[in-house]
Symmetry: C2
Subunit: 106 residues, 2 copies
Amino acid sequence: MERTRGSKPQREARVDVYEAVFTALAHPTRRRILMTLNFEGGSMTAGEIASIFEHAWPTTTRHLRVLEAAGLLHHRREGRTRVYQIERRRLDLVHEWLAWFTKTPA
Amino acid sequence: MERTRGSKPQREARVDVYEAVFTALAHPTRRRILMTLNFEGGSMTAGEIASIFEHAWPTTTRHLRVLEAAGLLHHRREGRTRVYQIERRRLDLVHEWLAWFTKTPA
DNA sequence: ACGATATTTAGCAATTAGGCTAAATATTGG
DNA sequence: CCAATATTTAGCCTAATTGCTAAATATCGT
């Protein structure tokens, strides 16, 4: 599983990375979490995030985990709350993927 | 299901549209179909597309349907083959969504 | 130490997704 | 019309996703 030392991931690894990011973005709740974080300055507590949805808190927790596994968020503990922060640069992967379709004039 | 005459979809409709596009992009096989189409000039027959994968043809047919439902492809019959063509502009929706995250300097 | 607050983990049920095989459909060439 | 070719549809099965509730964990204030 380790990489051969160097900053750029190899092909194989990169595929998995796309997988996680695109899958994370596929759910409307998760896109909304990202949007909300984006407009609320980049970070919010788990409770604040959970409060914007109708569904049970554990459901939101799970979505947060998916987003974090995809590298689109990360969190830090702050007393008894957890502050989630958006990782905007991770979205570059999507830009990168999309770019293939504009690079091609055909 | 009809829209009120006009070119821009309303909010509600737009959400569904994101849903379909992002979901379609979440599967690696479907991303690969789009990539391949992109580099093969934009259109290929169902058979050509199916032949790039190991799985059974009907599986590919299903992926094509998902992509088409998302508006990322469309097809035309051509004799007994069906030619699928990529709808690159549809990817603008994704660019549009991503743009919210760069528009925000914070 | 205790109770309140904040949040996650565990585990269950329903739904959806994605693979397969077999059968159906449409078009072409003889 | 018949056989071959190209492709989709139907239906089945398994695995993953997503929602829920109940229980666990961690931290804070007293």
